[in-house]
């Protein structure tokens, strides 16, 4: 296949994957990292774009993007703290924009207090709208572990939220 044609196909496929995966990615990132979610998705998708020749040929490029995103979210805490310090030094406030409702914020705040694996399972399952099998593949754990994590997480959230 001529290189130019191959390039166009790759670009098209990237756009397809981007549009298909974005709603799930942004929900997962927002659930895990709050307001930084869109930036983290942006970073993860640039990583996908840079490595697209290798990512495009994977069976599930979306799964790769989710794994990169989760790693980005894991390290976002440090950046968040740095940002907070920077803002404190600059003595200015960021412009605020309308966000999710108080109930939604309360739910995801409670989720963020779960241990890491159940937190990721809940986020990928409910925010990312993935099946338990997909969550298991992304987290590289058995599906039974995901089901068990979800069950325990739901119990913990019932208590935390007073449902």
């Amino acid at each position: 296949m001529p290189e130019a044609t191959q390039r166009v196909l790759l670009e098209h496929r990237f756009e397809d994957v981007y549009r298909r995966e974005y709603p799930s990615l942004v929900a997962v990132a927002t659930a895990l990292a709050g307001d930084d979610g869109e930036d983290l998705v942006h970073d993860a998708m640039i990583k996908a774009l840079v490595n697209w020749k290798r990512v495009a040929v994977l069976e599930r490029p979306g799964g790769w993007c989710h794994r990169v995103l989760i790693n980005r979210c894991r390290s976002s805490w440090r950046r968040r703290v740095t940002h907070a310090r920077f803002l404190a030094r600059q003595r200015r406030e960021e412009p605020s924009s309308p966000g999710p409702s108080a109930d939604v914020i309360a739910f995801w705040t409670a989720v963020r207090q779960l241990p890491e694996r159940p937190r990721l399972a809940v986020t990928l399952y409910y925010a990312g709208d993935h099946s338990t099998a997909e969550v298991a593949r992304i987290l590289d754990v058995p599906e039974g572990t995901v089901r068990s994590d979800l069950s325990r997480a739901r119990s913990a959230l019932v208590k935390e939220l007073g449902v």
Binding site: V26, L49, R67, N71, W77, V81, P100, A127, S151, S155
Partner: protein, 398 residues
């Protein structure tokens, strides 16, 4: 019955009110969770791909400019260090009050394809890949003879470039590793290999090092141009650009005793100049184990204990700034970090303790031990005599 998520919808259970109640609660929380998840999903912005492509182009430009700036900065640093130390033996940095005296080698940070700027060295995406390669089962690796070094000492040799973390969207540069043998019974050949703790970016206080065994996942370094390795830089790759290969990795249980050599790149901070410098020390596995234990104990004294007693993170930060606590102190390098940790023996470590309360984030927990991640395995080398050296990179910055 199975719903679209593949979870079981349980039928009624006769005479078991507790289970009925649990099911109701489960159903309620499930419904709340689904609504909370749906509220966060949004379609991709129409100009999203265009923005990504322009950001990618911008990054390439900035990276090229940054590479030039790094080379210039290193050249200036070398010039300054050489100028200050005409005897070539080292520079003594005045330590903070209460710390032990530390004589530092005057070597500039290694110049390699894997820049060591730790502000950005913790890119975790190097650990991601799909499909996940097979991992060969763990073996316990130890040689029979104790090595010469019995306690921490300043390194007299440079550490290999492949023992540092590739950062900033760049790749390692050098020669590929020998392949990792698929058969766990076959020893690693002489050479240097990438090492990580399995499924983790580093070692935390709750990881299994207390029993004196450190489990590492070993991979080969391979050429980016071969197209089968994890590389972060831009194509076309330089001929010597390296990433970690997709071949099966191997888990190795390293017994942290005197038969294993460890090499740690820590950091110091010259508060007066607001500058970081390398502190490279070598020791044994036993020394490293003691260092972990010291760090855990120090964290408990300085942070964990006070948190448990209800002291606010900000107050703990203020107390450490005022007085060295458990070896944690404020080195006064505001550009780089707010805290460092000076062990009784071993390299000093930058320890950004993140002692902040951030709205919307869970409160800091006594056992978080967040900065114990700071002693981070990077590579393993095996020499001609079969002695293993495990390299660590200590002192991530926030």
């Amino acid at each position: 019955m199975t719903n679209r998520h593949g979870t079981e919808d349980h039928g009624p259970v006769d005479g078991d009110r507790d289970r009925d109640r649990d099911r109701d609660e489960d159903s309620k929380i499930d419904s709340i969770a689904r609504a909370a998840g749906a509220a966060l999903r949004q379609p991709a912005p129409a100009d999203g791909v265009d923005r990504l492509q322009s950001a990618h182009r911008r990054r390439q430009t900035v990276r090229a400019a940054a590479a030039g700036a790094v080379v210039a900065a290193v050249a200036i640093a070398l010039f300054v260090v050489v100028g200050r130390n005409s005897d070539g033996h080292g520079v003594v940095v005045t330590p903070p009050p209460g710390s032990v005296d530390v004589t530092l080698t005057s070597d500039a940070p290694p110049i390699s394809g894997a820049p060591t700027d730790s502000t950005v060295a913790s890119d975790p995406t190097t650990t991601t890949s799909e499909p996940t390669p097979t991992t060969v089962a763990a073996e316990t690796t130890t040689s029979s003879q104790p090595i010469a070094e019995l306690t921490w000492a300043a390194a007299t040799e440079s550490f290999p470039a492949l023992s540092y973390i590739a950062c900033c969207g760049t790749d390692w540069e050098g020669e590929p590793s020998p392949p990792v043998p698929a058969d766990p019974a076959v020893a690693l050949a002489e050479g240097i290999y990438n090492a990580q703790t399995p499924r983790s970016d580093g070692i935390r206080s709750d990881d299994d090092v207390d029993d004196g065994v450190l489990t590492l996942e070993i991979r080969s370094y391979g050429r980016c141009s071969d197209g089968v390795v994890r590389c972060s830089g831009d194509e076309p790759y330089p001929a010597n650009a390296l990433g970690t290969t997709d071949e099966p990795s191997r888990l190795i249980d390293v017994v942290l005793d005197d038969t294993v050599r460890v090499a740690v790149t820590g950091f110091g901070c010259n508060g007066a100049a607001d500058q970081l410098f390398d502190v490279r020390e070598v020791g044994t596995g036993s020394d490293l184990l003691a260092l972990y234990q010291q760090l855990g104990d120090a964290y408990e004294i300085a942070v964990g204990g006070p948190l448990r007693n209800g002291v606010a993170p900000e107050q703990i930060a203020s107390d450490i700034t005022a007085n060295m606590t458990g070896g944690f102190f404020d080195p006064g390098c505001p550009t780089w970090t707010s805290f460092a940790w000076d062990p009784v023996a071993g390299p000093s470590i930058l320890a950004p303790l993140n002692l902040f309360t951030v709205d919307g984030q869970p409160p800091l927990q006594p056992n978080d031990g967040i900065e114990l991640e700071s002693i981070y395995p990077t590579a393993v080398s095996v020499d001609g005599a079969g002695v293993m050296t495990v390299y660590f990179y200590a002192g991530f910055l926030s």
